[in-house]
Symmetry: C2
Subunit: 340 residues, 2 copies
Amino acid sequence: MKIAGFDIGGANTDLAVIDFENGEIKEIKTDFEYLPMWSQNDKLDATLIDLIEKICPVEEIDAVGISMTAELVDAFETKTEGVIDIATTCEKLFDVPIGYIALSGVLSLEDLIKNPIDVAAANWKATSQIVAEIEKDCIFVDTGSTTTDIIPIKNGEECAKGRTDFERSATGELVYTGTLRTNLTSFVDFIPINGKDYHVASELFASTADVYNVLGLIKDEDFVCATCDGAGKSKEESARRISRVVCADLDILSMDEITEMSKFIHQKQVEQIASGLKEVSEREGLDKVVVTGLGKDILCAEAAKLLNLDFKSMGDYYTDEECVVAPAIGTALMMKNFIS
Amino acid sequence: MKIAGFDIGGANTDLAVIDFENGEIKEIKTDFEYLPMWSQNDKLDATLIDLIEKICPVEEIDAVGISMTAELVDAFETKTEGVIDIATTCEKLFDVPIGYIALSGVLSLEDLIKNPIDVAAANWKATSQIVAEIEKDCIFVDTGSTTTDIIPIKNGEECAKGRTDFERSATGELVYTGTLRTNLTSFVDFIPINGKDYHVASELFASTADVYNVLGLIKDEDFVCATCDGAGKSKEESARRISRVVCADLDILSMDEITEMSKFIHQKQVEQIASGLKEVSEREGLDKVVVTGLGKDILCAEAAKLLNLDFKSMGDYYTDEECVVAPAIGTALMMKNFIS
């Protein structure tokens, strides 16, 4: 039995196809594609099919699970509109059972229509299924391209105090910062260069992908988002974008200075994630951390270290590729239980 | 004699045409147009001509002064490239004498080519000419759509410690925050709603124009920048954009709550400007302030009040329309002296 789990984010659509044999996982295959849902949500159907066909013929899929966060993009007036629109696209596409990951479990289309908000930004619910298998009492920290989920798990069950994205913005459980797409000006106010503090320009001149590209902390194939200036993804082009953040250019700043700036920015983002993790850890009395997502090593683990918290990496149990799409794997697993 | 002064910014191109009679100002006419230079710098020539023709036939213009900040946009690899590109466009367009506002004064094209960086982001030099007439020892604070210049003047001469945008980012003299285009996440980390602090999403979901639109602090005709989601400029559409900043929507937040959020955001931006003003005021031992620009009343004056500094408004000497394009007026005045 083959189950597809999609995690439809604002910027990336992730897929995991799990092949089950006698109820056990035989094989997991994963992939993802950059799809900016704020401008190209009309291409969602083509993207979903493309992704599946790269892994296996769509006819071999027995069921499809869907989790989403893309309902927040500003192409939709409300989350309700976004959830319904995305679900409608999915229903037209597949002839097999489809389930939607919700805060209350897995919903059919019928149940989704009764309470669409239950499905909004519930993908961390899917991730918590996998993490609970690794550690029954812990906080998992999942930093993707754009956001960081910090979710407490007790006795194998997630117990996030905030339920929606909005609520989790106030509980430390959602830190809206990520490995690739984050505007540097959102978490850095000034950057020290040669002993002086330079305040940053409030434009979208550079994103975190540029910083980790310059520092060599992400692979070329992981730099999947668009660049801020439409130019390329070489280290020099990333450095040029970073130089603009302090109203400079590469005539003014050297590569060594850009590297120093990048290290400072990296540290600031670690501190930002640590701040949410500290809040959740102290409130819930949990001191074990499981890290995952594209930023698991360079951001989540560093945040745990900063707070002297014990941490395990999902990377010790799954491949790096699987960790990047953890919510999609969790979605497929929840869908399997739903139809079994 | 009619002199045109253009201030070519990244997002707005401003024009003042000053009609001189016997060396004295007889009449000032102004206008401005939204021109996003990062994506449409090929339309600069058409925009300059359009603007002039709205005020008077281009044949009646005796000389043209140019100041700029648009060389920073990411369509240009370096500031030098940007300055040369913009100057080349201007030279093709006008058959009368053209001068470029530089830190060292007014340059001909020949001198500009020898030192293009002298012309980069020198428009505040032009503003200082006007302000010095109002107050010989003061700090002027000019908040435009995108940035805030905070420039000390002593004995009628500007004495900014930083000379370039880059240097001024470290001296308090450039605070990269403005009345319209500023991403809220660049200066707000969290927003209190009903007693809880909600952390903001690091997207470009809403800009300061939305906040001042909701609060009724800018006129409809001043809301000249593009909206973040491509939707309209009604109060409700602005409120919807602001709701997304905390991952909410207008199903979750009421207009009253959005208004409370907007007041908090306004206060944070006042504090941001006050922080630069405080640094300059204390360092230079100056306690008189002259406020100008689109944000003169709602931002600059509030920042001066917060610091208990005496302030005058350029609005007491010039019309509101003239204050909005103060660098363009200063540019025309400097050009007049250059050719006289």
